[in-house]
């Protein structure tokens, strides 16, 4: 099969970018989308030009490194898959495919299709952990965790931190990402002692990074490669307001908006 690509090329954050067209010919429908880009890059290299920069690593949908908006959809047309797990059989022969980076104020562009998602790391640094040091843990079976809680925590923990939720949101909100981590840890008995502090600190950092507000359109869930549920946003809101009520007045003032 053959396709025409319109790819966003931008040499750096301070230089203007533009769409550049490329032909990708003789493709096998069982190729992954990134393998198609590999082939296009081989051709570009052979022509003596600089190939398209794009993030990728595991190529099995789990590391969260790949990050393309394909035909206007973060991670492309298929439901619950990352860009790397998108295959050419999902496209029509002769189709024109538009490829862009994840765009958001909090994800500044580095080059071509590559953006900087360090904001996510800083949100985790604010409280996305349980404060336990190696060596201090009791026996793994000392605290039973109801299976339904462990399963729900796992549903939330499945987030790969790719940022598609942000890219898909008209407000570039990170609520799905943040709520997944808050829910994962707050659902478990091990995470309960820091429950309030965690949700307040993570939300505060999320706002500081410049992510937008959530208006519950659900576009995040629709593009999430792991199908993280919108319900976690509801859970985080509940945890957040509960924490505000319980927080000392100083902390309340910090979060008053």
């Amino acid at each position: 099969m053959n396709v025409k690509l319109r790819v966003w090329r931008q040499a750096g954050p301070d230089t203007p970018g533009k769409f550049v067209e490329y032909e990708a010919t003789g493709l096998n429908p069982n190729m992954s989308f990134l393998e198609m880009l590999d082939e296009v890059n081989e051709d570009i290299t052979k022509r003596g030009e600089e190939p398209i920069s794009f993030d990728h690593d595991c190529r099995e949908g789990i590391c969260g490194m790949c990050s393309c908006v394909i035909n206007g959809e973060a991670h492309g047309p298929e439901y619950k898959v990352a860009t790397c797990q998108t295959y050419m059989r999902s496209f029509q022969d002769g189709e024109t495919i538009t490829v862009e980076p994840f765009r958001a104020k909090a994800f500044p562009l580095i080059k071509d299709l590559i953006v900087n998602r360090s904001a996510f790391d800083r949100v985790i640094q604010a409280g996305g952990f349980i404060s336990t040091s190696a060596g201090s843990a009791p026996d793994g079976n000392a605290i039973p965790v109801p299976k339904q809680d462990a399963d729900a925590a796992m549903d939330a923990a499945a987030c790969i931190g790719c940022g598609a939720c942000v890219a898909a949101c008209k407000n570039a909100s990170a609520m799905l990402f943040v709520s997944a981590k808050v829910s994962h840890l707050n659902l478990l008995p091990q995470g309960k002692p820091e429950k309030d502090k965690r949700v307040l600190a993570m939300v505060q950092q999320m706002d500081a990074e410049g992510f937008g507000a959530c208006t519950v359109t659900g576009s995040c869930e629709a593009v999430c490669p792991k199908g993280i549920s919108l319900n976690f946003i509801a859970k985080m809101n509940r945890d957040y307001f509960g924490a505000l009520l319980r927080a000392p007045s100083k902390a309340k003032a910090a979060h008053a908006d």
């Binding site: 003596g48 190939p51 360090s118 790391d121 349980i130 462990a150 923990a157």
Partner: protein, 636 residues
């Protein structure tokens, strides 16, 4: 060179306790005076950096990804072993130790493996405390599954994403330390050289992958936890970015490389479908708990799997290894698959595949139960192949998955270069000639959380105030060498692409140094590799410049290192004139199984670099077994 493994005295079961009793410590007030460099943020590196930060050291943590959470440990699916014996099925520290030593075909160091089995239980405790959502029973207690090479259920898991969840646990601990100010993370930064000052590893030279800046970082000790070198074979289950550059540059600076020929070829991967393929995808070994492996009995039987009646199928693993059946260890299962395919009984278009069939399990347990156990793996298989494994059997074939070899380390996890520590897959120490399933996660976290933080103080105690400045002459020299090499790659502007060379190297490695090896093939590879390397340095085309983000330049440097490493792998495979574990020399077999030669080869082969195109020098560390008797490995 005398390679002293520094194994503590006393009976096997007491060595680690004896070691800790006698270990030199760094007092809490002094810990903050030390800077430790940790390269790599997978299970070993992430856990080590976090734990060293918890102890109070200043840690600089480096990774090539945009976030430490993306290291390739994230892709491990099936589980992590631990000798908890929660199942009351006869497990113990000794049994996990013995299974691991036997699984490695008696080519691992006894004391290291015993320690690994001992700390395995602490790992589970630690991960549960961090909030790793392991699978549980309705009682709320942890559950287990079985993995290859064991007759007990000791594998803990988080659906099919155990590696991801364990890595997120380590990553979150690391982020906590960043917020506390003990750890500084350098993402998108690649280590390109090790700096040695007065014979000690005291820093690294890195390239900022965004700006291209070459920078020096000095430390009191350097920890490499940069994973394995399976991408030397081009197609593998590794991440595309996984590479051997950090350990290879350290090797060129004096660290011995041990057992490079020990590579694991995993039996259950999705078969190759075309030339364009960039990587192979693993289907977790846990699937062999419920899936049955078979091929048609008749050669060239091209009927659809459903049309082949039961009595015309050969469930060859169950036939050949009745007591372990479909859970025979990886090296054995892989070779068995190769054998049936070589006989012309392989399935799929290429004939390089075997079936992994769940129909019996679905009949027995129902589709819902199978979906609960393996749903995400079945989804992944469907995404890649477009086939539903609920309806038709999966097709699988072996692929390069892990490397047991790596930099030589002693019991402290320190290489022969003082101050250079190596953890996780990057070192050679625990898996011998074959690694059992669910043991890589165990080793990575054991090294990172419990071993290295306890052993590094012994070295650091004598090093207070000896850290050089990052502008010392040794750093300037290393920076210049790194810069010159990058410039050289950029000025060739030849006709062939990097991928083109890498694919060709990978094919040589797979054909002559893959699942089955022989003298003639290995010698042939030793002729081909240096020639291709020469051509690479004359004719490779590396586009772009060095002063900004340039993925081609990154890849070119790594492929250049694979060329040198590949030669050492083949040399080691040729030297090891026996079969053991994943290293199968066709000359040495008994009814298709590995035939070890303990009299001549019961040693660790540690190679010392003497310059590119110069023969490396072999140092032998004899493997002395105090507790166990060497036996023929049988899973029949």
């Amino acid at each position: 060179m005398n390679l002293d493994a520094k194994i503590p005295s006393g009976p096997l079961a007491q060595k680690w306790d004896n070691y800790k009793r006698d270990a030199k410590l760094v007092n809490p007030a002094n810990k903050r005076k030390y800077d430790i460099i940790v390269v790599g943020t997978g299970l070993a590196g992430g856990a080590a950096a976090a734990t060293l930060g918890e102890l109070g050291y200043n840690v600089k943590s480096f990774c090539i990804q945009d976030s430490p959470r993306r290291a390739h440990s994230v892709a491990a699916q099936g589980g992590i072993n631990a000798a908890k014996n929660y199942q009351n099925d006869g497990d113990s520290v000794y049994r996990l130790f013995y299974d691991t030593i036997k699984g490695g075909d008696f080519r691992a160091r006894e004391a290291n493996v015993y320690r690994l089995a001992q700390v395995s239980a602490n790992i589970i405790d630690q991960c549960v405390a961090q909030g790793v959502p392991f699978a549980r029973e309705y009682s709320g207690y942890l559950t287990n599954r079985s993995f290859g090479g064991a007759q007990v259920s000791r594998t803990f898991y988080a659906r099919g994403q155990t590696g991801q969840q364990l890595l997120l646990g380590a990553y979150q601990s690391l982020m906590r330390q960043v917020s506390l100010g003990t750890v500084k993370v350098f993402p998108r930064t690649e280590m390109l050289d090790l700096v040695i000052v007065n014979g000690h590893a005291k820093g690294i030279v890195t390239r900022n992958l965004i700006t291209g800046a070459i920078e020096s970082h000095a430390g009191d000790a350097v920890v490499l936890a940069t994973g394995g070198y399976g991408n030397t074979w081009y197609l593998s289950t590794y991440g595309r970015g996984s590479n051997a550059t950090a350990i290879w540059r350290a090797h060129k600076k004096g660290a011995c490389f041990a057992n490079p020929c020990y590579a694991q070829i995993h039996p259950t991967c999705i078969p190759v479908s075309g030339d364009y393929q960039s990587k192979l995808t693993l289907m977790s070994e846990s699937l062999r708990n419920d899936g049955r492996v078979w091929v048609p009995k008749k050669v060239g039987d091209k009927r659809a799997p459903g049309d082949i009646p039961e009595d015309e199928r050969d469930y060859y693993l169950e036939r050949k290894y009745p007591s372990y059946g479909n859970l025979a260890p990886r090296d054995i299962s892989s070779r068995a698959a190769k054998q049936v395919c070589d006989e012309g009984r392989g399935v799929g278009e290429s004939g390089l595949g075997v079936y992994l069939d769940f129909s019996a399990a679905i009949q027995r347990l129902g589709e819902a139960k199978i979906a609960e156990r393996y749903g995400n793996l079945f989804d992944m298989y469907h995404e890649i192949t477009g086939e539903s494994a609920y309806k038709v059997p999966m097709r699988i074939y072996p692929a390069i998955h892990y490397t047991m070899g790596g930099l030589w380390v002693d019991y402290n996890l320190m290489s022969n270069v003082p101050g250079l520590f190596v953890a996780g897959e990057a070192n050679f120490s625990d898996h011998g000639a074959n690694r059992l399933g669910a043991s890589a996660l165990m080793q990575g976290l054991a090294d990172g959380y419990f071993v290295l933080p306890n052993t590094i103080s012994g070295y650091l105690a004598g090093q207070l105030g000896k850290r050089p400045k990052a502008d010392a002459a040794e750093f300037k020299q290393a920076e210049k060498e790194v810069g010159d090499r990058l410039q050289k790659l950029l000025t060739i502007r030849g006709k062939r692409t990097i991928t083109d060379f890498h694919k060709q190297l990978g094919k040589i490695m797979w054909d002559y140094c893959g699942m089955a090896r022989n003298e003639a093939g290995l010698k042939k590879a030793l002729e081909l590799i240096p020639k291709l390397r020469e051509e690479f340095w004359k004719d490779v085309n590396v586009p772009g410049e060095g002063g900004d983000l340039n993925q081609s330049l990154e890849r070119a440097g790594r492929v250049a290192d694979y060329f040198e490493l590949a030669e050492l792998i083949v040399l080691d495979a040729l030297m090891r004139d026996e079969s053991c574990g994943g290293h199968f020399r066709e000359e040495h077999q008994e009814e298709g199984e590995c035939k070890r030669n303990d009299e001549q080869f019961a040693y660790v082969a540690a190679w010392e670099h003497k310059g590119v195109s110069q023969p490396p020098v072999l140092h032998k560390e004899p493997l002395k077994y105090e507790e166990i008797h060497l036996a023929t490995r049988s899973y029949k």
